[in-house]
Subunit: 137 residues, 2 copies
Amino acid sequence: MPSKTTTSASVSGATSSRARGVPKPVAKFRMRITAGDVIAIGPGKIALLEAIVETGSITAAAKSLDMSYRRAWLLLDELNRALRKPAVDSAKGGQHGGGSAITDTGRQLIDLYRRVESTAARACQADLRRLIGLIAR
Amino acid sequence: MPSKTTTSASVSGATSSRARGVPKPVAKFRMRITAGDVIAIGPGKIALLEAIVETGSITAAAKSLDMSYRRAWLLLDELNRALRKPAVDSAKGGQHGGGSAITDTGRQLIDLYRRVESTAARACQADLRRLIGLIAR
């Protein structure tokens, strides 16, 4: 997952006067949309879509996430089946080479998902700081 | 986890004119506070605290969550160590019997955590409905 999106969806403890080497507590949201037992949309699938945007192919995306091609293909197939319209064009064909294109639905999915994470973190900022304040330093 | 809290932190798809037997997509938030590699606060520990409030003991709470006593005790020990003040009184002693009491910190932790989940779901309601709208019915 790109660090910028992780940051936008996180609330960290205060950085002032912290001893070096003590890990700073960080709050992270993970959102999943489930339909019955199936996770239709979740952080793994979104990270995979983003990696396809960045690398231009399923093969390279899978590699960048330290995931097998087979695992990536199965995730995309499951995602495409869950959606009204596919998120990745070549996923159904299962080509190993390049040419995997994120669709408009795929881009919309990434944007909405990341916006939800950052909206959630922003809306809960005060309570997240209270929670982090309960943690020992 | 009590169903009431799950509901308050969820956004479901429209219920009108849905075919019976088709699972309705539901959006769920999970929030974790990490410090380094350790998950200081997460959904499992909060569900365990709530079960202790409901059942009055670690043993009964573990049983109600289909968890071993040892696993419950380790989670509570990890949680207490992560906090400024313990969330459960008897966790450090490790008594198997009754007398496990949630502290003020423990209650504060549950309340803040569940409020964060419901605030997040409410703040993101429109985008969550858009995301659910992308899912096939």
